[in-house]
């Protein structure tokens, strides 16, 4: 299955957002997620199934003014 992670195309096994994040190496990291422009709380990641073409955004704390 092909999805977009932070704008980059990635091939992953079909499954949930939680599994995809593990596979992408984000386990244990301080991040927040959105799928197709909608916020997905951490508690809902295991229940959020990804579909072909989904756009996943993964953000972390960063410097800001």
């Amino acid at each position: 299955m092909r999805i977009f992670v932070n704008g980059e195309q990635r091939e992953i096994e079909a499954g949930t957002l939680a599994v995809a994040l593990d596979g992408l190496g984000f386990t244990g990291r301080k991040i927040a997620t959105a799928v197709n422009g909608r916020f997905v709380p951490a508690t809902q990641r295991p229940a959020t199934r990804l579909a072909d073409g989904d756009k996943v955004e993964i953000v972390a704390p960063m410097q800001g003014g």
């Binding site: 932070n6 704008g7 190496g25 984000f26 990291r29 301080k30 991040i31 927040a32 997620t33 959105a34 422009g37 909608r38 916020f39 709380p41 951490a42 955004e57 993964i58 953000v59 972390a60 704390p61 960063m62 410097q63 800001g64 003014g65």
Partner: protein, 256 residues
């Protein structure tokens, strides 16, 4: 001074971007005496984990964090970013930015009011980055904002207070809403001027981060803000058109 029920003794809110190094950022935060620092959310790229080490630095300061929605151009983007920030930083506080013009980083005040309404209804404590427009400020308060953050000048421009008259009018119109001059300041005297108008606080970033010595500049701003606040409380005299001798005239020796 309190923002949404949180008592603060420092009247400087400090941004965390554009410092020469993380060590200088940490030192500048200390020197500024700030109790609130602003942060953002950005895509976490690959294995270098920049976001994770930055977060460790901020967490170690023990200060209150004010996440922003910088770079958002639509209500939807800003609202989604606010939700991600609330989870990531475990705070209801959000510095709401909805930008319209990329040259001036002028807020889209229509989108700002709409996003503020959505977020206030959802339980956020919204700190809107706005212009000094009185009618817009009124709409933001109507939407539920209990802090207003008008710009001094465009972000990063170092121009100071572009519209002193407008900022004064805003202060007079909202005596009970905490007002923070956010953005556009370049030197400590700009911050003093804002505080002398009766503003409650100042939010800064570039003026400190891009100074030759950010740590020294952070302390200079802290002192300037304190001076401006004290001057406001001391009730400055009114300007006059003509001179008035300060030395007594009576009793002057006749020598000519």
């Amino acid at each position: 001074m309190a923002f949404y029920g949180v008592e603060l003794s420092s009247r400087l809110l400090l941004g965390t971007a554009r410092y020469p190094s993380p060590a200088i950022l940490a030192e500048a935060i200390k020197a500024s005496w700030a109790e609130v620092v602003t942060v953002s959310l950005r895509r976490e790229a690959g294995p270098e984990r920049a976001g994770q080490s930055f977060w460790t630095l901020i967490r170690e300061t023990g200060l209150k964090v004010l996440p922003n929605t910088a770079g958002c151009h639509t209500v939807k983007e800003a609202v989604t970013t606010a939700h991600m920030a609330r989870e990531l930083f475990d705070t209801k506080w959000i510095k709401l930015e909805v930008i319209r013009d990329d040259d001036t980083l002028q807020p889209d005040v229509f989108g700002l009011v709409e996003a503020a309404r959505v977020l206030c209804e959802d339980g956020f404590d919204v700190f809107p980055y706005t212009t000094e427009d009185l009618a817009v400020a009124d709409r933001l308060v109507e939407a539920g904002c209990r802090v207003l953050m008008p710009w001094g000048a465009p972000i990063g421009s170092a121009r100071g207070l572009n519209n002193v008259y407008g900022l004064k009018a805003l202060r007079a119109h909202f005596p009970d809403i905490p007002l923070v001059v956010d953005a556009g300041l370049g030197v400590p005297s700009h911050a003093t001027a804002a505080m002398e108008l009766g503003y409650d606080a100042v939010l800064l970033n570039t003026a400190v981060a891009e100074a030759g010595d950010p740590v020294e500049m952070a302390r200079a701003f802290a002192l300037a803000i304190d001076a401006g606040r004290r001057a406001f409380l001391a009730r400055p005299m009114e300007p006059r058109d003509m001179a008035q001798p300060s030395t007594p005239v009576v009793g002057r020796a006749v020598l000519g």
